[in-house]
Symmetry: C2
Subunit: 214 residues, 2 copies
Amino acid sequence: MLTVALPKGALLKDSISLLQSVGLDFSAFLDSANRQLQIQDPTGKAQALLVRTHDVPVYVEYGQAQLGIAGYDVLREKKPQVAHLIDLGYGRCRMSVAVKASSPYRSAVELPTNSRVASKFVHCAREYFDSIDLPVEIVPLYGSVELGPITGMSEAIVDLVSTGRTLRENGLIEIEVLYESTARLIAHPLSYRLNTDNLSEIIEKIRSKTLATV
Amino acid sequence: MLTVALPKGALLKDSISLLQSVGLDFSAFLDSANRQLQIQDPTGKAQALLVRTHDVPVYVEYGQAQLGIAGYDVLREKKPQVAHLIDLGYGRCRMSVAVKASSPYRSAVELPTNSRVASKFVHCAREYFDSIDLPVEIVPLYGSVELGPITGMSEAIVDLVSTGRTLRENGLIEIEVLYESTARLIAHPLSYRLNTDNLSEIIEKIRSKTLATV
């Protein structure tokens, strides 16, 4: 049976709407009383897994899900062995460098050599600072990265920014954009090539819906 | 000023009670309306940071907090350069290997060679399977590890178990205990040796409270 890995959190609602528009109903995941992590579409054609956004590529890479929806940020950070199929357009945000508004730095290259940069996206941060040839120490954090500059632990952060509210509330400003991110449809490469469970049909339906809204 | 890093989640309530019993009041963190991640004790003697449990050792290692409270599981997984001071006794749980109840395996050594083991604690899992000389593939996940065996992605999981309810609800059983975990008081090594902010006094108070309740 076709299995789709869906991400908990910010991308879930739009992902479920998109799949509904192509005939797959996983709206039970939006019920706040739901505790199940694996549900079937009422027609019995497909099932979905509800997992952390960082885990979506894992389930797809191992072939436990033939399709998955994940942010480009996660794909760029983890570089999983999956087929990147469609830019779905929603979940738009950007990976940015931010510093305390009261700091003198207004671009990343102005940061002092050997600055500390806190991030949940350590590979993205490392790649970016390598690309501008600035040696920095990346401090890996799991959450609330904005505390890095507030407490003085780090000069800067690399983090996802959507509205910018969290930055403003914490007295931080964005000084550099690494890249823009949106939700992406990904597939298990072998399932995609072999067209298991008639994958290509559902992918084409999603593609036409996505083109219609862009 | 003395800064204490406190973990969000399961250990928070007991940690705040413990600090209250030695005269430091950070109960504002328990207010569900609270959005602040950094607050001062009303007496102005100390401040606390509210961070993810995995981030506590980071703030302590970098000296942004002189003291921190973290689970032994996190300390064992991350091996941070911090001073381990006191076993606080609460937050008791165990790091265990679990499999589907319907599987034939009743101990870790019975797992087939090259099994897949899903875990958020990849270093703990790797260390354990190396110690029993069983080659396995560790699949790193961020959450809902129980989906690994349910979906067939992995034969087993290594995860924290406290009541065992999540395992039972998902048809899994514990077949091996790696170690027991409790909350621990940790300190920034240099601050501890130099007795910055009169650290030893507060540590001794915490030690006597902990001994009184054990």
